[in-house]
């Protein structure tokens, strides 16, 4: 401090004249606008069909809203900080299997998203039940539309390119069932994610950050909820609302987020003690801003990993429940479970082909089993790799 003219090393600011900062939450505004646009479309087209789909049901609209919400949750953090995205990607890419699985999932999700554009809904045609896939022969019934070949005194039906993956019960073509089945699984996954992730995050973060009796109350509720079997509740509700995919998705999502909330809570408890939160608090940053700027971004990894573990479970549950004929049946929401069930069914249906043994119509159950299990395995592999990649301990 040699002379009066020394300029201070840091300019002094008249803080008194400033109020707290306020900025436009663009992400939130965008989300609200998009959902509003979707609502306008819904009001305009109703359930009579639009450019993409004939007769979109209530489930379809919920699914579309879910897709919009997911886009606004997932995309902005990835775009906002390209350097970090790049860092995560580099670490992810070091696991070859995971990259293959991610590529596979990308294909599957694209197919599921585009299913309504690629193929029409499954068409009923009782005269072409159980046609074998192209170039494959199977014991012929009455309704073989391809060439019938005779070998060793027995007649065999050869598949045609009209139905490259063959046909199933009631003459539904297999590729339609598979594509629309994927779409059903995606709908289940999207609705479940959009219900579970915000709920689990909100409850976990509030319980962990506020603590005290709020924590006791919320976690007590989670305990109670976890002891309620979703399956039983669903079966009971079927008698009131009828079998529906929307009901299935809502009931199972609303009763399955407890374990995720617990993970988020314990992560929040750890984060709350971190120096940067104390530093922010002591600098006068409000609780809400601390939650938004520090807690939420830092628990988002836990949420993401929790979701990738929970979603495949719910996809399998959906297939299992339709396999038991307790799900949405019919051609509106062809489900893997339903198709597999029909592949194994040896009685009922139109004689004589419905009575075929499962081995004689193997394509009906094999394709969905392979597609379903490979999707679930890929989801699990990607989820495990994400857990390793996003673990903050790997960041230092």
């Amino acid at each position: 401090m040699s002379s009066e003219n020394d300029s201070p090393p840091i300019e002094s600011i008249n803080w008194e004249s400033r109020d707290g900062g306020w900025s436009v939450p663009w992400q939130f505004v965008g989300l609200v606008l998009s959902l509003g646009a979707l609502l306008a479309l819904r009001l305009h087209y109703g359930e009579h069909g639009d450019a993409v789909l004939m007769f979109p049901s209530r489930l379809t609209w919920v699914y579309r809203a879910g897709l919009v919400v997911l886009a606004f949750i997932v995309v902005p953090p990835l775009v906002r900080d390209p350097a970090r995205t790049r860092r995560y990607w580099d670490r992810f890419a070091s696991n070859r299997v995971a990259v293959v699985c991610l590529g596979y999932l990308a294909v599957v999700v694209s197919l599921a998203l585009l299913a309504p554009i690629l193929v029409e809904r499954a068409q009923l045609n009782l005269y072409i039940e159980h046609q074998p896939p192209a170039f494959i022969t199977a014991p012929a019934g009455d309704d073989c539309i391809g060439p019938v070949v005779t070998s060793g005194g027995e007649e065999f039906c050869r598949g045609t390119l009209n139905y490259p993956l063959g046909t199933a019960h009631r003459g539904y073509s297999m590729h339609t069932l598979l594509l629309w089945g994927l779409r059903t699984s995606l709908q289940m996954a999207v609705i479940a994610t959009v219900i579970m992730v915000p709920l689990a995050t909100a409850v976990g973060v509030v319980a962990g950050y506020v603590g005290g009796w709020v924590d006791t109350l919320l976690m007590g509720y989670v305990d109670v909820q976890q002891s309620v079997p979703a399956f039983v509740i669903y079966v009971i509700l079927i008698f009131i609302y009828g079998r529906s995919l929307l009901l299935l998705a809502v009931v199972f999502s609303l009763l399955s987020w407890g374990s995720m909330a617990r993970l988020v809570r314990s992560e929040t408890l750890q984060r709350r003690e971190e120096g940067y939160i104390e530093a922010a608090r002591s600098a006068g940053v409000g609780h809400l801003t601390v939650l938004r700027r520090h807690v939420l971004p830092n628990v988002s990894n836990t949420v993401l990993v929790g979701a990738t573990q929970k979603v495949p479970q719910l996809i399998l549950i959906e297939a299992a429940i339709t396999f038991l004929s307790l799900g949405d049946i019919g051609r509106w929401y062809p489900s893997f479970g339903q198709t597999i069930r029909n592949g194994f069914r040896t009685a009922g249906g139109m004689p004589p082909l419905a009575a075929l043994s499962p081995m004689a119509k193997w394509w009906v159950w094999l394709f969905p089993v392979v597609l379903l299990s490979s999707t679930v395995i890929a989801l699990n592999v990607v989820g495990d790799t994400l857990r390793d990649v996003l673990d903050p301990r790997g960041e230092t």
Partner: protein, 432 residues
């Protein structure tokens, strides 16, 4: 150093108490209280550095958190520039937040791993309404340069910086709001020794440049000696001694301060280790000892007037007594050490072993003392530790365990010890 608020002080702490209730049972009733801070007072003037030292668990970090109003005190007051922080309007609170800033011990956790250093340093400014992004960026860059980082470092992430660099950035963040008071909570204890020196030098420069009042919290006496103008020593939530750094280091009065100073490693190999080292653990702050809280570990416990015994003998018998009272000596473990598992050792052997462990002579010179001690040890060997403790208490009482010492002040120093009676201006130190 009067208890009335010093008008020249920027930060005044008076009778600060912070108790944490311990709740248990079905109804969540309060069963006891952890007295983390129990009546602490000090003043901090502009441009001055006050060191707050003590072992871990003595409540010094709680003082910091309470001073920053991250926790509300159970009792007492914290005043910043004449304004009590307990009753503040919203605007006053924001002003207080700008005036007092903190740097934490662990550089690893003091930055959000998801934010760049620049964003973290700018965060307080955003919260206080500096909306102009360009101006904020300029300010962040000059702040980083002031603390010895490069302006480009603002784009880096915490994991790309070393511990020392992060601590510099933490100082930059703390300075961003032009504070008057800086609280440094163990600012260098997580760093390498070479980096420690750099950061301490930086703190000195910054203090001079910004005329900061610094409250330095540390367990490291050498850091305190280097940086502080005045020192306050804390033990179990209380201040036991305070005074200018030089006089406190040259002539420590409180036995605890002496023990802390003796714990500084001395580079001279010929220097004998002082005999004032600290034994045992800090007692549980949920049930602090009666009288002087340090008496359980003190090397200078005052013997009763009617007992003719030398200080060191009294000291070791007293330690034995405290050990018996707190149940630190287990009959089983003594027996086990003595006889293995063959047979039960004789009471005489047990008594001898206990004497040896506490450094008590096998036969005391004073007859009354010896009788009492041997009776007590016989009772102990019979398995009645409480009777043994009571027997010893009759013969070996001390004012240190009965009465809480009052504060004795002289020339800017204050010490809270029975060896310095407040009415005694002649400063009789009976051990000398």
């Amino acid at each position: 150093m009067s208890d009335a608020t010093d008008s020249s002080a920027l930060l005044s702490v008076r009778g600060l108490e912070k108790h944490y209730p311990v709740r248990s049972g079905w109804l969540n009733r309060e069963t006891s209280r952890v007295r983390a801070v129990d009546g602490v007072s000090f003043d901090l003037r502009r441009g001055e550095t006050l060191g707050l030292v003590g072992e871990s668990g003595c409540g010094k970090s709680t003082v910091a958190r309470t001073v920053l109003s991250l926790e509300s005190p159970t009792a007492g007051s914290v005043t910043v520039a004449g304004q009590d922080i307990a009753d503040q309007s919203r605007t006053q609170r924001k002003r207080f937040r700008r005036r007092v800033q903190i740097v934490f011990q662990d550089p690893g956790s003091s930055f959000d791993p998801r934010m760049t250093i620049g964003e973290s340093v700018a965060e307080p400014m955003v919260a206080h309404g500096l909306d102009d992004a360009d101006r904020r960026r300029e300010r962040v860059e000059s702040l980083l340069e002031v603390v010895g980082l490069a302006a480009d470092d603002r784009e880096r992430y915490p994991h790309e910086l070393s511990g020392g660099q992060k601590q510099r950035a933490a100082l930059a963040r703390a300075l961003s709001l032009n504070p008057d008071v800086l609280v440094l909570d163990e600012p260098v204890s997580a760093l390498d020794v070479s980096v420690q020196a750099e950061i301490l030098a930086l703190v000195q420069d910054l203090q001079e440049a910004f005329d900061l009042a610094i409250l330095l919290i540390s367990h490291d006496m050498s850091v305190v000696e280097r940086l502080c103008d005045r020192v306050a020593v804390m033990y179990l939530g209380e201040l036991v001694e305070r005074g200018p750094t030089e006089s406190l280091f040259d002539d420590p009065k409180h036995p605890y301060t002496r023990a802390l100073l003796a714990a500084i490693p001395d580079p001279d190999p010929h220097e004998q280790l002082g005999d004032a080292e600290l034994d045992g653990e800090v007692p549980d702050p949920a049930s602090p000892p009666d009288g002087c809280r340090f008496h359980t570990r003190c090397q200078a416990v005052i013997p009763p007037d009617d007992l003719d015994i030398d200080q060191s003998t009294f000291q070791s018998v007293f330690a034995l007594r405290v050990g018996l009272r707190n149940g630190d000596i287990g009959l089983e473990s003594v027996r086990e050490r003595l006889g293995g598992d063959d047979e039960t050792p004789s009471p005489a052997a047990v008594a001898a072993a206990v004497r040896e462990e506490y450094g008590v002579a096998q036969e005391l010179a004073n007859e009354r003392a010896e009788r009492s001690l041997s009776e007590a040890l016989t009772a102990f060997a019979d398995g009645d530790a409480s009777a043994a403790s009571e027997r010893l208490a009759e013969t070996f009482p001390s004012v240190c365990e009965r009465e809480r010492p009052a504060q004795h002040r002289s020339d800017g120093c204050a010490v809270t010890c029975h060896r310095y009676r407040p009415d005694d201006s002649s400063n009789t130190n009976r051990s000398e």
